[in-house]
């Protein structure tokens, strides 16, 4: 698994994306395209926002706040909070690319390509292990996702008027449902504890602190998961010791 070359990894990443991730993206980005249309964005801006924001919760926050007439600062804060996950995600993804992300430009580009889906897929144990293969896999995966997302944003924008309301709402819900199932499918113990703590901490934190609740959730929930993982790791090492 770790011996595959860059090109093979690129193709494998693309192949893994063509399938469930592409189907989910096509559905949810069609929903976003329709929402962007109804919020007053032209098709060009809708596609631009998909490709360059590249994080659906932030995009939805932007479109909904804009149509509600919120001011620019409020929109910036809401989008930044909805997409702040990219910070810890980049820190936990890029070091695994080894020397292939040695230049700052290279790292920023990989971070820009990253989405919750590409991150979750590359964190799975079936993804390539070697640094160069991971880079290829990530580029192949993200390229397919970006193309599907851009095309379906445009499609949703043009077809917005023909989309029945329950379906339009369901397409916005689709992404959350996908993320939920990706998270319940995680097998690693520290990650699972972090997810469970994130849910438990997340509800009160997001109610009490609408702006910074996610940061609090990440730090508290993640630290609990981390400490449990370290503790278990040490216990395991003690057991294996003769």
């Amino acid at each position: 698994m770790s011996d595959i070359d860059f090109k093979t990894a690129l193709r494998r990443g693309a192949r893994d994306a063509i399938g469930i991730p592409a189907i989910i993206l096509i559905g949810s980005m069609t929903g976003y395209g329709a929402l962007a249309h109804d919020s007053g964005f032209g098709v060009g801006l809708a596609v631009l926002s998909t490709v360059l924001i590249w994080g659906l919760p932030g995009q939805i926050a932007m479109a909904e706040l804009y149509s509600a007439g919120a001011d620019l600062l409020a929109i910036a804060i809401a989008v930044a909070m909805a997409n702040m996950r990219f910070f810890p995600m980049a820190v936990s993804l890029l070091p695994t690319f080894g020397a292939h992300s040695d230049t700052r430009l290279g790292r920023v580009m990989q971070a820009q390509l990253m989405s919750a889906t590409s991150w979750a897929y590359i964190m799975r144990s079936t993804a390539p292990r070697a640094a160069h293969a991971r880079v290829g896999y990530h580029i192949g995966f993200a390229a397919v996702c970006l193309i599907c997302a851009a095309a379906s944003t445009a499609l949703g924008h043009y077809g917005a008027s023909g989309l029945p309301q329950p379906l339009a709402l369901a397409l916005l819900f689709l992404n959350a449902c996908f993320l939920l199932i990706l998270l319940v499918d995680v097998r690693e113990h520290p990650a699972l504890v972090s997810i469970a703590s994130g849910v438990v901490v997340g509800i009160p934190a997001n109610i009490a602190l609408p702006d910074t609740g996610l940061i609090v959730t990440g730090v508290v929930g993640g630290t609990i998961g981390f400490l449990v993982g370290e503790w278990r790791g040490r216990a395991q090492m003690d057991e294996e010791r003769p």
């Binding site: 964005f41 801006l45 926002s49 924001i53 932030g58 926050a61 932007m62 909904e64 509600a68 620019l72 910036a76 809401a78 989008v79 909805a82 997409n83 702040m84 996950r85 990219f86 910070f87 810890p88 980049a90 820190v91 936990s92 080894g98 992300s101 971070a111 309301q165 329950p166 339009a168 709402l169 369901a170 916005l172 819900f173 689709l174 959350a176 449902c177 996908f178 993320l179 939920l180 199932i181 998270l183 995680v186 990650a191 504890v193 972090s194 469970a196 994130g198 849910v199 997340g202 509800i203 997001n206 109610i207 609740g213 996610l214 990440g218 929930g221 993640g222 998961g225 981390f226 370290e230």
Partner: protein, 112 residues
């Protein structure tokens, strides 16, 4: 929206792009100093999962905009259906997502 020299929609999109990019760039800068075998790396991985879980509670339980118009019971029940079907079909991701989303659409259609 009319296209002009000061299209407010364009300004909003640019601001939103920057508001997302800042986090990615910050992560890219910090990532260089992190050892992938070390504790800091493991902590950031855990934080990522917790943030994703927190984001999920926000999307499902405390959404804003259009989704907030749908009853909380429907949102949570549909998510539960998705997870249940996922495990009942031996972890079939697509069937789970389609069941959850389909159940959501159906419930919205029946209650409005």
């Amino acid at each position: 929206m009319t296209d002009g020299a000061t299209d407010p929609a364009l300004t909003v999109v640019i601001v939103a792009i920057l508001a997302s990019f800042v986090w990615r760039a910050l992560g890219a800068v910090l990532a260089h100093r992190i050892n992938p075998e070390g504790r800091v790396f493991r902590w950031f991985t855990c934080v990522s999962y917790a943030v994703l879980a927190g984001l999920l509670t926000r999307l499902l339980i405390l959404p804003m905009g259009d989704l907030a118009s749908v009853d909380l019971t429907i949102r949570v029940a549909a998510a539960g259906v998705g997870v249940a079907v996922f495990f009942l079909t031996r972890r079939n991701l697509l069937v789970g997502v389609v069941a959850g989303t389909g159940g959501f659409a159906l419930a919205v259609a029946l209650t409005t």
